[in-house]
Each structure stands twice: as C-alpha cells, then as structure tokens.
Symmetry: C2
DNA sequence: GCAAAAGTGTTGGTGGTACACCCATGG
DNA sequence: CCATGGGTGTACCACCAACACTTTTGC
C-alpha cells in the first residue's frame, strides 16, 4: 500500500512537506443522539487516562487499514459501546487542525448517528448519555463536534423525514411533538406538526390507538413513518424549477 | 505555472506510522466552480501518467504534515493551479473507501470552492474549465465528488446568500439570473429573482447603471451583495420557533 | 413610432402559525 | 358533568410564480 502518488507540485521547496509527516493517523468519531426523557442526549465515554483524563469524549477510534469510514464507525460503535440499533448514520465533517490532538497529528472524521427513542442499548460502565444542552467537560474538539451534530439534526428535521430515526416504530402525535421539541430546542405544537407531516406524506396512521390515561382524555391514534430511509420532503421553498418542467 | 506532476516518490517509512496500519495517506481535493459563458464549469487537470493516465482529475494533493485541511487546499490551489480568488470555500465530504485509489489506501477530503464570474485566473497548461453537466472522463471517484459539489451549491443557493461567490462585485439582475440558471440547471426569471433577493436583504442597488446595448432597451441598474460572507437568509420555512420567543 | 430590455403591480396558490372549537374518555 | 387530552376547522399571513403592464432606451 502506501503508494504515495504525490500529485503535482509547483514550488518544489514549499510543496515538499516534511518527510511526508502527512497523515500519521486517522480516527473516526460519532455523535450518537437519542431522545431520553424528553431531552436530546449524546453518548459519551469517560477517559481514564491522559490526554484529557477524566474528561468525556465521543465514541470512536482509529480507522482500520482495510475498512471504509462508514464501516469503521459502525464497527466501533458495535464493539466498544454495544450500539447496533442506529436508525440513521451520516457523515458530519472532518477535522484536521494539526493541534487538535496533543499526541500528534490525527485527523478525525465525525459521523452523526441516531438511535430511536424507547430502546435502551446496554453500554459499558464508563459510557453514558448526557443532555446535549448541558455537556460535561469534554476533551479535544469533541464538544464542537457535538454542536455540529445538533445543527445538522435541527436543519434536517425541518426539510427531511429524519424524524423516523428519533421516533420508535409507532407513536402518537403528542409523543412525536415532544421528540421534535427536544431535538429542536423549542416548543412544537402537536396540532400543527400532525398536519405538516401528514401533508408531506411523512407519517400515516397505523389504525391502532392508545388508551387514555387515568386522568381521562380521548385515546390517541398511533402513527408511523411511511419510510425509514432518509428523504427530502420539502424541497426548498424558493427557487424551484418552473412549473412547466 | 506548475507543469506536470513531478515524480511520485513512494513516501519513505515516514508515512508508515499508524501501528494498526491505519491511514497511510490523506489528500485534499477541491471542486472549484465558476460560471463561464452562462455555464457552470469546474476546474480540472489532465493526468499525464497512471493511474488514470489521460483522465481528468480534481486539483489538490497530499496533506502536508503541519497544515490544516483548509490551509492545505488553499495552498495547493494557489501553488498548483494559481487560483487565489476563491470567494467561498467549504468542506464537502471525506471519502475513505479502501479501494478508491489503486495505489493503496488514501483518504480524500473534498472542498467546494467558488470563483466569481468575470475573472480569469491563469491556470497551467494541463488545467482547464469543464462544463459541470458534461464532464470528461475522470479518474478515481472524482466525478462523484463533482456531483456532490453541484448538489451542495444548488441547495445553498436556495437558502443562503452564496450567490455572492458566483457573481462579480457588481452586476445587473439579468446577469445574476443567468448565473443562477447556470448553477441551478433551470430557468430563473429575473423579475422574481430581484424581488426574492431584495426581500431577503441579500442584494442592494449600487446606484450605478449600465448603458443599454445597440439594440436598445432600458438601462439596467447595478446591484451588489450586501455582504460577502455566507449567511443563511431563509431559515427553513417550517418548524420555526413560535412567535413569542 | 417601434422593438427591446428593465422594472412594477397584481393575482392566485401554497404552506405555514395560531386559536377556537369539537370529540372521546376517566372519574 | 366536568376535567383532560386528542383531533378538526378556520382565519390569517408570508412568500413566491406567473403574467400583464409600464418605463426607458436605441434606431
């Protein structure tokens, strides 16, 4: 391996970086979110040794020699924190600041992963869920990466059906509105959320319903997402192609 | 400047760090777009040797040991293709398929760069602009990456002010509508584009105007973008916070 | 005056929030 | 029958596409 096709270079002197100290290492990280108790939480583990001893960090690790980036983060989440129930996974960004890791030059490609509400994966002792709005002390640039993940999730909730990855297979509209509230960080009225998602064809009634609680109230209808694959449901409001095309 | 690619020399043991055989190399690429002659074009260079001899490729190259990703692609564009007038640059995606490069495992982080219309950077002999809708034979996964870039640009034209990076400092609305048409791939009516961008506060009149051509017509007013930094001008139509907050 | 290109006014549709109101259930 | 929560109907508004119309120029 390690062919090293150097691309082209103009100014020999400058272009010839250090004896190719180039990428000495590459790691893959994941921002894994789940709604727990009406709050958006992220999965973190606590570092037991330096650097950043006692700080919290994103799950992930070194990229293996023969695996792709997606495969690598899936493997590491399964092996290290026993998370196998990702309903959605997408690449977030790659950080390459030479100083981001005190041990030397390590690039990191971060992913956004979503676990549906309601399930409770068994995670190791040193691993836990933390509210995304109230992060503990975190090492490296990981807190920044969590914020990127939140922004991405917020945006996609608005124009895709990504809600399927936050909600369990069946849910009532009022439950769903709580998931949206938690992820978006502001109130979402159930009454309108129902109409928006129905109009867009994102959700449909299952036919079932849920008995009312002891305090009464009309039984709630159950819904499900029509598909569990990411789709863009709201092409941008503006600048779409003219009708006749 | 910068002629052909100078010898590739297999990176010595230096590139051999990762204990687990992890990342042997990392390159940085750029999809640089410019509107030329009412078409969206991308900057490519023609490979003189294998792999993919005679095919076209995205500009870029190995990441230097002491530079960040952004810095690296800026440096390489400046040195290798003499492009220094990027009005916008953002990270696109990172590809890590172990087989994407026949010479071995090389990760690639791709950027999207935009050069305003009207300027004509001097580029090397083997480098040229190609219509993005009619790409020549391209090596590696570079054609895919160009498509990612187009999708990203199209989306951002709809909800940000990224048009500032396609247009020259001053322009008429009808010119601007041609830039938008080229980048979006469909007609954009000048009459409505003007209103949309004015309402959103993206553009403003400079006061100047352009004399009409020999065929007559009312002189066109000149406009400029109010800012040349990326801003989201159209928060998603849906699911915004309630009014009272 | 006539053609050409820029710019304005207006209409109609879509898709959203807000809020009043009706429905089904438990006590 | 009342409180509680689910569900529907409707008013209103922002935003945009389409198109007719007006303005300003060259010839």
């Amino acid at each position: 391996m390690s062919g090293a096709e150097t691309g082209r270079q103009a100014a020999p002197a400058a272009a010839r970086p250090a004896p190719d100290g180039a990428s000495a290492g590459h790691e893959v990280l994941a921002v894994v979110f789940q709604i727990r108790g009406d709050r958006l939480c992220v999965l973190l583990w606590r570092r037991a040794r330096p650097p950043y001893e006692e700080h919290w960090a994103l799950p992930g690790g070194r990229l293996g020699g023969a695996e792709g980036l997606d495969g690598s983060i899936r493997r590491q989440l399964a092996q290290k924190v026993d998370v196998r129930d990702l309903a959605h996974l997408e690449q977030l960004e790659t950080r390459g600041d030479p100083c981001r890791h005190p041990r030397g030059r390590i690039l990191a490609t971060a992913y956004l992963g979503l676990v549906p509400a309601g399930i409770d994966p068994v995670v190791p002792e040193d691993t836990g869920w933390h509210p995304a709005v109230d992060l503990p002390d975190m090492g490296f640039d990981h807190a920044d990466i969590v914020h990127s993940g939140r922004r991405r999730l917020r945006a996609k909730l608005s124009y895709t059906n990504i809600g399927f990855a936050l909600a369990p297979p069946e849910f009532t509209v009022s439950q769903l509105s709580r998931y949206y509230s938690a992820a978006l960080g502001h109130d979402v009225a159930a009454t309108n959320l129902r109409r928006v998602l129905l109009r867009r064809g994102q959700i449909e009634e299952t036919g079932g319903s849920v008995a009312s609680g002891r305090s009464g109230g009309r039984p709630a209808a159950l819904f499900r997402f029509r598909t569990r694959r990411l789709e863009i449901t709201d092409a941008f409001a503006v600048l779409r192609p003219p009708a006749g095309s």
